[in-house]
């Protein structure tokens, strides 16, 4: 029987099942073993698989990621946990110059089957250096696959796919989604990488959401029903590659489009989607494509300031009204 599970539990199941299935899979990260992981995703796995397969590494992101890449070249399948996406910047050289490029610069003679899991997002008063949405920094890089699952079902299915592919995958989780519940199918299933998901069919406009913003967009769309606005919601799920066909099909039908992310919109994922939709759907568009993102400031600590920095479902509704040509009351 499929049952409701927490997003973090779904991730834990994916890790455990893949480690069970394939001896070459191991986990490495900071405090993922004894401590159980900063977000408790890996809790209990140390007891089950031992310290060789659930590795508590020194707090040294560059060597953690480099070790994972080097071991992947020798045939292991490492899954790295970065405590938060902010810390991945310390390992950015390894990710960009090594993980993403090794296969190409050695003419296909080596593969890097690597997964780096890391939570992004904000909303817990963690302030500037612990709150980031950096999808675009990874989405930019050829050689990487970048995904951002939003449901427990996808979290488990996509993590399994990520572990099984021979390409390096940036697996972007959201710290605000770990406690979300959702149905998770039974047994060994995988969810393909590289595919967007239509979360709600609608006729009036298309809202493309990135990571947690896809969840907020879905909430907003349900509320917009009362205002007689029928929004289609697409969960981007894959940052690289972008799955254009469902987006194009949707926008050509609704003729209106808006894009929401938690990160900064200038040069952001929303910029890329908006540009792509414009190129592909120009003749069908009845309104400018709108973008919504986080305030362009380092994340402030103060609660009211932080709230003002992250898009809400109200913000999404407001922009949706604008896109379909309705007036906003407030």
């Amino acid at each position: 029987m499929p049952e409701e599970k927490l997003y973090r539990v779904a991730l834990r199941e994916a890790l455990g099942e893949e480690m069970e299935r394939d001896d070459s899979v191991y986990l490495i990260g900071e405090d993922i073993g004894k401590f159980g992981g900063a977000y408790r995703v890996t809790d209990g796995l140390l007891d089950k698989f031992g310290a060789d397969r659930v590795v508590d590494a020194p707090i040294a992101e560059e060597v953690i990621v480099g070790t994972a890449i080097g071991s992947a070249m020798l045939g292991l399948r490492p899954v790295v946990e970065m405590m938060t996406i902010n810390f991945s910047l310390v390992a950015y050289d390894q990710i960009v110059n090594n993980a993403a490029k090794i296969r190409y610069m050695f003419g296909g003679e080596a593969n890097v089957p690597l997964v780096i899991r890391m939570p992004g997002g904000a909303g817990h008063q963690l302030s500037a250096q612990h709150s980031h949405s950096l999808e675009v920094l990874y989405g930019l890089i050829p050689g990487l696959l970048v995904v951002a699952p939003t449901t427990p079902e996808d979290a488990k299915g996509m993590l399994k796919s990520a572990i099984r592919t021979n390409n390096p995958v940036m697996f972007l989780e959201s710290m605000s989604l770990y406690n979300v519940r959702g149905m998770v199918p039974d047994g060994d299933y995988t969810t393909p990488l590289g595919q967007a998901a239509v979360r709600r069919k609608g006729a009036d406009l298309t809202i493309v959401g990135v990571s947690r913003m896809a969840v907020l967009a879905h909430e907003a769309a349900k509320q917009l029903e009362e205002e007689d606005i029928d929004a289609e919601v697409i969960d981007l799920r894959s940052i690289r590659p972008i799955d254009w066909p469902p987006i194009v099909e949707s926008v050509n039908r609704t003729t209106r489009c808006m894009v929401v992310e938690e990160g900064w919109v200038t040069y952001g994922v929303t910029a890329e989607i908006a540009a792509g939709v414009q190129e592909r759907c120009f003749d069908h568009l009845d309104a400018p494509i709108r973008r919504l993102g986080g305030a362009q400031v380092p994340m402030p600590y103060s609660l009211p300031l932080e709230k003002a920095s992250i898009p809400t479902s109200e913000d999404i509704k407001r922009m949706a009204r604008l896109v379909v040509g309705r007036k906003n009351d407030a």
Binding site: G70, L74, M105, G108
Partner: protein, 895 residues
């Protein structure tokens, strides 16, 4: 209900059934799965039925010539169907025999196609079997090539079922299968024509044997066209016609049947291998040195893993795999004495190195030949065509190879195989009493002939072929020089496929460096065997440049003493250093000619650290290195042509022109790449060490970097990590005293770099990086310690680069005196002084080496220049692996 076993073997061929029997012997509860008849291709469609028919054809030939022996008959005719019936009976008897053995051995048999179900399960029809370990032994199937009219041809399975002997038979492919059928049908009176694309049929056999065989075939009306590319097969004149081009000219052969014999491909259809986590590469199952696949508890042996696709090799691998599963778990197959038998008329068999191969490796060899016409037994048999040839190491007398063409060559090879497998010398062979009159006496005589002591043939002057390295020093060798072409290698190029990739040496042993009779010589164990091997012929052609780096199995202080016994090894080291020097000088020249672009960092002045650092490593060790790595790649054994081609940005470069100067790579040689971010590869080497530890292997990761890298965070993180987790990594710092233009003292708070490793509590030494013998010895000691205890260690090798940081560096930051001082300490010049003082070589010799390596390098440059560029349409190839390769949405193409 699932049956559960310790070991399940999928495939009942000579690999599979032998493995099953051995597993059962060792007490494992064993099952075997076979969808066809027990015995596999070998028993049912290959070795056995063809040999049964060959016996008929041979008897027929003998009987036709019987009058000479007193066998008088009015007419001798041949009944093909009777021969077929006998063949079937032989096969049936053997198949029954195998079934009986399995039953008696307590092996459970499942009939049907086995499919891997993951997690230790195998599905056979509706049965589900579970096993702790599974061995894939599904063998191979006949290869097909895209050829117009291929549907008109028959393959080696179908030819066995022919209802009569064709009047005219055309054979496409001059490999073993093609030549055996050619021989058989020619003997039965068919007019046989063989079409081969390469310049020689049976390319893995020495040319003198092949020439003799071709003469024989021509004598009975057969024809062989080499260098012939088949264009199409068409219907014509009540039969078929094969159209081909031979050296640019068109030709055609009429035939009743056309046999397509272009090799065999690994067979995994319906096995569900990849779904079960078993990685395939070009259709073959990828295995590690212990025959493990990428899936836990799944092993693979025989033709399905590519490599040497022979029945007896499969059986041998089967035993290795099973003993790894049930036994002590540490057997790695050693192929250096795998014999190959070809049942032509006369028969051909060979084992170990051929004459051509040995010469290409630059080995100093002795050759002895004995013709069967001088053998009493051969004369009594009336089969005196052919000869036995022995190839042996000059210095030690150790037998390296044997090539035999003549009566029962396929049986005779057994003695040579035993000798090579056990490292016997020619003397040990010739001191063994051989019964008289027998055919094996010919091997004894060949061994004697090589030593100038043959009894039954006149002795020539000892037929030593001096390797290039030795010629100049032996004053009496004037005549020999003419016989050996100076390292030109043109003839090799003709047979080398255009995409030339480095291949691991066929044998890991190096004569000079191997202590005699150590019994530990193993073939190099590589992570994955070279690309798709469909014709075993291709696989045997290991093209090595004349200056190949030595790969001794072990370094001892004694080996490095400047004595006569060590001369060969020491001169090889010298030649390798000189070769790298010249390679880099020519590289610089090509850079100024704009044939090479980008940044280009040369090893000039660092040769002692290059050769001294890499030669002590085992071929199973891993190397991660920096961007200054042309010499490193060459010293590891990567073909210098592939290195130069990469510098030229060509498709047949080590990285297919995608990497260039800074990114050489070779997975077979475990050369895990050159990297361009200073210090950025140290974490990768840490990961390499992690993987070795994780897999509980005994390999060492050797990480090379410059002094500049020791100031970066990654350096400290990596040293710390390697020590915390006890990883088998040797950190090898080539301190050439400058990080680009900044001297070490100006950049590093601790200018004695080896001291930095003390912060991580690891053993660390500083050595003279201008002295190749010191580097070699100290590196070897450190590496072997690390192999033994899996503790990281650190070496700082002090040296000097004679050129700027890169080719474009004007080098204004170093004083003229400084440069002069180190010039005087030139590691090559210093080594030459040592060699000269010890009377191991003289200036004339060094001059000669310089000339020879320059000739080699010039050929290499020419090769690189003439090599093809990567295709622009392949721009996106290699960005992503597998299903993601070349997906349009990953290119960002608009719409």
């Amino acid at each position: 209900m699932a049956d559960s076993f310790d070991v399940v073997i999928v495939g009942g061929g000579p690999g599979g059934y032998v493995a099953a029997l051995r597993a059962a012997q060792l007490g494992a509860k064993t099952a075997i799965v076979e969808k066809d008849r027990m015995g596999g291709t070998c028993l049912v469609r290959g070795c056995i039925p063809t040999k049964a028919l060959l016996q008929s054809s041979e008897l027929y030939s003998l009987a036709k010539g019987g009058a000479e022996f007193g066998l008088v008959s009015d007419s001798i005719t041949f009944d093909w169907m009777v021969a077929q019936k006998r063949k079937t009976a032989v096969v049936d008897q053997l198949v029954k025999g195998v079934e009986g053995l399995l039953k008696a051995g307590g092996v459970t048999t499942f009939r049907g196609a086995g499919r891997l179900g993951g997690k230790g399960t195998v599905k056979v029809g509706s049965d589900m079997i579970t096993a702790k370990d599974i061995v894939i032994a599904t063998g191979s199937a006949v290869s097909r090539i895209p050829l117009k009219g291929a549907e008109l041809t028959i393959d080696s399975d179908q030819i066995l079922e022919l209802k009569d002997v064709p009047k005219r038979l055309a054979v496409i492919g001059g490999g073993v299968v093609g030549m055996e059928f050619a021989a058989m049908f020619a003997a039965l009176g068919s007019k046989v024509t063989v079409l081969e694309m390469l310049p020689q049929v049976l390319p893995m056999v020495d040319a003198d044997l092949v020439n003799l065989y071709m003469k024989h075939l021509a004598g009975i009306g057969g024809a062989i066209h080499t260098n012939s590319k088949v264009a199409e097969v068409v219907k014509a004149k009540g039969g078929l016609q094969v159209r081909f081009s031979e050296g640019g000219e068109g030709g055609a052969v009429d035939a009743d049947h056309v046999l397509l014999a272009v090799g065999r491909s690994p067979y995994t259809e319906g096995l569900g291998a990849e779904e079960a986590g078993v990685k395939l590469e070009h259709g073959r199952v990828v295995i590690d040195s212990h025959l493990r696949t990428t899936a836990q508890g799944v092993w693979a042996i025989g033709d399905v893993i590519g490599g040497i696709m022979l029945a007896h090799v499969a059986s041998y691998e089967g035993i290795c795999a099973v003993e790894n599963i049930v036994g002590d778990g540490n057997r790695t197959p050693d192929y250096h004495a795998a014999p190959n038998c070809i049942y032509t008329d006369p028969e051909i068999a060979h084992v170990g190195l051929g004459e051509k191969e040995a010469k290409e490796k630059g080995l100093d060899i002795k050759i002895g030949k004995f013709p069967f016409v001088a053998s009493g037994r051969a004369l009594t048999l009336g089969q005196s065509e052919g000869f036995a040839k022995i190839i042996a190491d000059s210095a030690s007398g150790k037998i390296l190879g044997a090539h035999i063409i003549g009566p029962r060559a396929t049986d005779l090879i057994a003695e040579a195989t035993l000798a090579i497998q056990n490292g016997l010398t020619m003397e040990q062979l010739d001191l063994t009493i051989h019964a008289h009159p027998t055919l094996p006496e010919s091997l004894m005589e060949a061994a004697l002939a090589a030593q100038g002591r043959a009894v039954h043939i006149p002795n020539r002057r000892a037929s030593t072929t001096p390797p290039p390295a030795l010629r100049a020093t032996s004053p009496a060798s004037g005549e020999d020089q003419a016989a050996t072409s100076p390292a030109s290698g043109e003839d090799k190029d003709a047979t080398t496929p255009p995409a030339l990739r480095a291949t691991a040496p066929a044998s890991g042993e190096d004569q000079a460096g191997t202590p005699p009779a150590s019994g530990e010589d193993k073939a190099p164990v590589v992570t994955s065997r070279a690309a798709p091997v469909q014709n075993r012929e291709q696989m045997v052609a290991s093209v090595k440049p004349p200056t190949a780096p030595p790969h001794p199995t072990k370094i001892t202080p004694k080996m490095l003493e400047l004595t006569k016994e060590n001369r060969d090894f020491l001169l090889k080291l010298h030649r390798q250093m000189q070769f790298i020097r010249r390679f880099e000088e020519r590289t610089q020249e090509q850079y100024t000619k704009a044939k090479i672009g980008g940044y280009c960092h040369l090893n000039i002045g660092e040769e002692a650290t290059v050769v001294g650092g890499i030669v002590p490593l085992q071929l199973t060790d891993y190397i991660f290195t920096s961007y200054r790595e042309h010499g490193h790649a060459i010293a590891r054994g990567i073909d210098p042509k592939a290195v130069m081609a990469e510098l030229f940005g060509k498709e047949n470069g080590t990285s297919h022109g995608r990497g260039g100067s800074m990114h050489m790579f070779d997975s077979d040689l475990r050369f895990m790449g050159g990297y361009g971010i200073v210090g950025g590869h140290l974490p990768l080497a840490t990961g390499g060490g992690w993987a070795v530890r994780y897999k509980k292997e005994k390999d060492v990761v050797f990480c090379m970097f410059g002094d500049g890298a020791t100031n970066i965070g990654a350096f400290h993180e990596s040293l710390n990590f390697s020590k915390v987790f006890k990883l088998p990594v040797v950190w090898f710092c080539v301190n050439n005293r400058y990080g680009m233009g900044t001297p070490v003292e100006a950049a590093s708070a601790v200018p004695d770099i080896y001291k930095k490793a003390c912060a991580y509590d690891m053993e660390s030494i500083q050595i003279d990086g201008m002295n190749v013998r010191e580097v070699l010895l100290k590196t070897s000691e450190i590496v072997e310690k690390t192999r033994a205890d899996s503790e990281p260690r650190f070496i700082e090798a002090m040296c000097y680069r004679f050129k700027g940081h890169s080719v474009v560096d004007p080098d204004k930051y170093r004083s003229a005196e400084d440069k002069e001082k180190f010039r005087k300490a030139d590691p090559i010049v210093a080594f030459e002084h040592e060699l000269e003082k010890s009377k191991l070589a003289d200036e004339e010799y060094f001059k000669k080496v310089r000339m020879e390596v320059d000739a080699e390098v010039q050929d290499i440059v020419k090769y690189a220049d003439e090599s093809p560029e990567p295709k622009v349409e392949d721009l996106y190839k290699y960005v992503y692996a597998d299903e993601w390769e070349e997906r349009p949405e990953l290119r960002g193409d608009p719409l």
